[in-house]
């Protein structure tokens, strides 16, 4: 039952920015249906790792294998095709993932049209269905996202990503800019949708509570290195590395 291959794998990936080792021999695996959290402070390399896993940045050394294929060795159009059809990326700032002047329905529908959907009724029906799944009222379908609250924009971005039926979703601090009350709703939504769709996902967060709630496994990064990884509750309740202990002990108990 556990002999299946990982869907995504980084093998001793290194990347330097000048004299700084942003990634230093990082190896991680993500299996189908699993949520992996990457935690660490800013500057730990976690967002850089996400961009290398997603193919936006090429490593100096090491490989990123998606379904067994080295994504940095393949032709750019092949990688682009995967990014459009099998991967999703949820940005921290919804403005980076949405088209702000296009209606909410259009933001969802244009992805389907780009993938070849032509039947207007079907596209609109899919948009309505996805708005409902991310708890946006149907009567907002013709409003552009700049008229939405931050939380609603983020939910729309998630709908725009998930409508394509990706096999893996990369999320960069998806609840980062939101009020705490709005965060809880978004987290519950992400938790539910990843379970329902059996999605693999990689979530970069500095918030250990987000990792605790969403992630099956957690990877802790410090200065470009993976210092600890394991089941999320094990890493958080019994941290072995000094840096993880510092992170865990720095969280305020509410």
């Amino acid at each position: 039952m556990l002999t299946d291959a990982p869907l995504l794998e980084a093998k001793t990936v290194s990347l330097r920015f000048g004299r700084i080792a942003a990634l230093d021999e990082v190896s991680i695996q993500v299996w189908p249906g699993e949520v992996l959290a990457v935690v660490g402070e800013s500057g730990s390399g976690k967002t850089t790792l996400l961009r290398v896993l997603h193919g936006d940045l090429s490593p100096d050394a090491g490989q990123v294998l998606y379904a067994g294929r080295d994504i940095h060795a393949m032709a750019a159009p092949d990688r682009k095709w995967l990014a459009r059809n099998e991967w999703g990326f949820v940005h921290q700032n919804p403005r980076d993932g949405l088209r702000m002047a296009v209606s909410a329905g259009g933001n969802i529908g244009e992805r389907l049209m780009a993938a070849g959907a032509r039947h207007w009724g079907n596209i609109r029906a899919a948009a309505i269905e996805w708005l409902a799944r991310v708890e946006i009222p149907e009567d907002r379908i013709d409003d552009p996202p700049r008229k939405f609250s931050g939380g609603m924009q983020q939910r729309l971005q998630i709908a725009r990503v998930l409508v394509m039926g990706p096999r893996i979703v990369f999320m960069d601090e998806p609840t980062g800019g939101l009020d705490v009350s709005v965060q809880a709703r978004l987290l519950d939504l992400i938790r539910r949708l990843t379970h329902e769709l059996g999605l693999a996902s990689v979530i970069v967060t500095h918030d250990l509570a987000v990792a605790r709630l969403l992630a099956d496994r957690t990877v802790v990064m410090q200065q470009g290195r993976v210092v600890e990884q394991g089941l999320t509750d094990q890493v958080l309740d019994d941290p072995h590395h000094a840096y993880t202990q510092l992170l865990v002990s720095s969280v305020l108990q509410a």
Partner: protein, 233 residues
Amino acid sequence: MSLPAIEVEGLSKVFTLHLQGGSRLPVLRGAALAVLPGECVALTGPSGAGKSTLMRTLYGNYLPQAGRIVLRANGTEVDILAAGPRAVAALRRGTIGYVSQFLRVIPRVSARDVVADPLRANGVAEAEAQARADALLARLNIPERLRRIPPATFSGGEQQRVNIARGLAWPYPVLLLDEPTASLDPANRDIVVAMINEAKARGAAIVGIFHDVEVRARVADREHAVAPLAEAA
């Protein structure tokens, strides 16, 4: 059926406190334990002796430095320490049930869904999972109006009963119970004792911490003393 369902050998757990100058806190040294299917073993010993540490290690929540924890269930045998995190995650789905002392509340998830979750994870259809969760909560005297809302605002005893319902919802062959009756009134305590004995009767191997001596006498077949280690030099 003579092989233990839970077999622990040579288990050692040391906490290294890096923020306290790397001081080492040994809690378990060479711990051993065997529990047969249908048997309930109560861990005893003073506070701080390592009872909870042993339980959490069995669940894969704490990672020991040495030892073997072999679980035999559903026709397979797994050393959870050798098998790694993904194997532990799979075992938690269908093999190991754990009732912790405190319920971890998830925002916006109702008590009924908290209890139905392990059923869904084991492939039970949605309607049946809901119905079985409902029946369990009803048996534990959680009224209908509470089942529909998240347990964040529940009393300690209500949260504990939700936790017990969740831990006993699926017929796990291995059950870990950490003070399951600590904040319950006598009537609810009797119900939980009956549920634990039903789990034993269907063959579950149970390890529990029961400070209530009367409860312990009613569910445990034997006691296993966990002795505190001498302070590290």
